[in-house]
C-alpha cells in the first residue's frame, strides 16, 4: 500500500479506479431496477407471491391460533382476544376520562373568566372535629 500522501494530501489508493467503475455500474443497475419495479409485471409478480404466501400460511396460522386458545384456556390464562378486549375497554375509559378532563378545564376557564377564581384560604390551626348529631347517635349506639 502506498503510504506517501499525494499533492491533495490523500494517499494513493489503487481501488479508486475500481470504485469509479463500480459506481457507474451501480447507477445503471439502479436505473434499470427502478424501471423494473415500476412495471405491471413486477406488481403482478409481487402480488402473486404475497397471495401464495397468505394462502399457504393461513391454514397453519389458524390451526396454531386455535391450539393456542385451547391451551391457554386449559391453563386458565388469558388469550389474545381477552387482552385485546381489556385494552379496548381501557381506551374507552381513557376517552371518558378525557371527556371529564375537558369539562373540568371548561369549568375552570369559566370560573377564571368570571373573576371568581378559587381564592387562597387563610390557614387556620387544626381544630378538633365537632361532634355531630349523627356522631353522637353512633357513639350512643356503640355504647349500647
Amino acid at each position: 500500500m502506498g503510504e506517501d500522501p499525494n499533492q491533495d494530501g490523500k494517499r494513493f489508493d489503487p481501488l479508486d479506479a475500481w470504485r469509479g467503475v463500480r459506481d457507474i455500474y451501480m447507477d445503471a443497475w439502479s436505473k434499470n431496477m427502478v424501471e423494473m419495479v415500476n412495471t405491471e409485471a413486477y406488481a403482478q409478480a409481487t402480488g402473486a407471491m404475497l397471495d401464495t404466501y397468505l394462502t399457504a400460511s393461513t391454514p397453519f396460522r389458524e390451526a396454531l391460533e386455535k391450539a393456542m386458545v385451547k391451551t391457554l384456556e386449559q391453563l386458565a390464562m388469558p388469550t389474545r382476544a381477552d387482552v385485546v378486549s381489556i385494552a379496548e375497554r381501557m381506551t374507552n375509559i381513557e376517552m371518558r376520562l378525557d371527556d371529564l378532563d375537558a369539562k373540568l378545564d371548561t369549568i375552570q376557564r369559566l370560573i377564571t373568566q368570571a373573576g371568581a377564581g378559587p381564592q387562597p384560604q387563610p390557614r387556620k390551626a387544626p381544630q378538633p372535629a365537632k361532634k355531630t348529631v349523627a356522631a353522637k347517635k353512633t357513639t350512643k349506639r356503640g355504647r349500647k
Binding site: 470504485r19 463500480r22 443497475w29 431496477m33 406488481a43 402480488g47 397471495d51 397468505l54 376517552m95 378532563d101
Partner: protein, 356 residues
Amino acid sequence: MAEATVITDPYTEAAERLKTLTKVMTTKAAIAQTPKELVWTLNKAKLYRYTPVLPKEKRHPIPLVLVFALMNRPYILDLRPGHSFVEYMVNKGYDLYLLDWGAPGPEDKNLKFDDYTLDYMPRAIRKLKATFGVEQFSLLGWCIGAILTTIYAALRGDEDGLRNLILLTAPLDFSNKQGLTFARWTDERYFDIDKVLAAFGNMPGEMIDYGAKALKPVENYIGNYVKLWDNIDDPRIVESWHAMNTWVTDNVPLAGGAFRQLIVDLYRKDKLMRGELVIRGERVDLSRIHANLLTVIAEDDHITPSCQSEPIMAKVSSADKELYRVRGGHIGIMAGSGASKFTWPHIDGWLAPRSK
C-alpha cells in the same frame, strides 16, 4: 463518536473499520435528545411539549404542533443534536409540540383516519389550548401526517383555531396512477387487502418498510451500505448514517383500518381530492380550509411525487398560500444535509410572521 486516528498499518486499519461497521450495524444511535414533557396521552398517542429555551416574551405566541406519519417514528424530526428540526425551531422561539401516534397493537386494528382526525387530534389540541391558554395554533404534517392534518383542517380547522398549515411531501392527489408505483402495486387486481388484513390485523412495519425500500432497491439494499463502507473513516458521515439507520430500521405497524382507507379510498379511488371522502359521516371538503398554507415539495421525492402535493393549492380557500419546492428526497428535505440550509429556514421564515 471517537475522532479519527491516523493508522498506517493496513491490518489495524481494516480491524478498526470492521469495528466501526459492527458498531453502527448492531447498535442504536442516541436520537431524540431535545428535552420534552408529556402533556396528554390517549391509548398509544402522546402529545409532547418541547422545553422552550427562550423566555416567554421572546417566543412566538402561536404554538406549532408536529404531526408525523403513522408508520414511522416521529423522532426523524429530532434526529440528533445539531441536526434536528425540533432543536432548530425551539431555538427560533417556537412553542413546539409533537403528536406521537405510537405503535398500534392488535387492539387498534380498527383505528381509521376517522379516529385519528376526529378523536385524537381534536382532543390533543383541546388539551394544548386549555393547558397553555392559547386560542390559535399551527400544524405541520409530514407524509401520511399531512393527509391527517389536511382532513383535520377541512373538518375542524376553523372551529379549533387552526391558523397556519404546513404540509410536507403530502400525498393527497392519487389521480395520476401511472406516476405512482405504490398505486400500481396496490391495484385491486394484484393486491388483496382483505386477505392481508385478515392475516395480520395491522399492516406490519416490515412490509411497509419493504414497500418503501423496493421503490429504489439497489440504492436502499446495496448502495446505502456501500456508501457507509466508502466513508467508514469519516466519523461525521458514520454518525449521520448511524442515526438515520436507527430511524429507518425502527418500523411501526399501520393500523388496519387506516391502511385500508389509504389503499382503497385514496390510492384506488382518489376520494380526498375528488371531494368524496367521508369521515364519520362528514364529507371532507378541501375548500373549507382557510388557514394560511405552506406546501413543501421535494423535487426528487420518489415516494410522494410532486403531482400528489401540488393540486391542493387550487382546492383550498386559504387567501395566503405558498408552494415551496426544494431539492431533495422524501426524508432528505427535512433530515438531510441540506435541510438546515434550505427547508428549515424557509419554514421558519414563512411561519414566524404568521405566528404573531
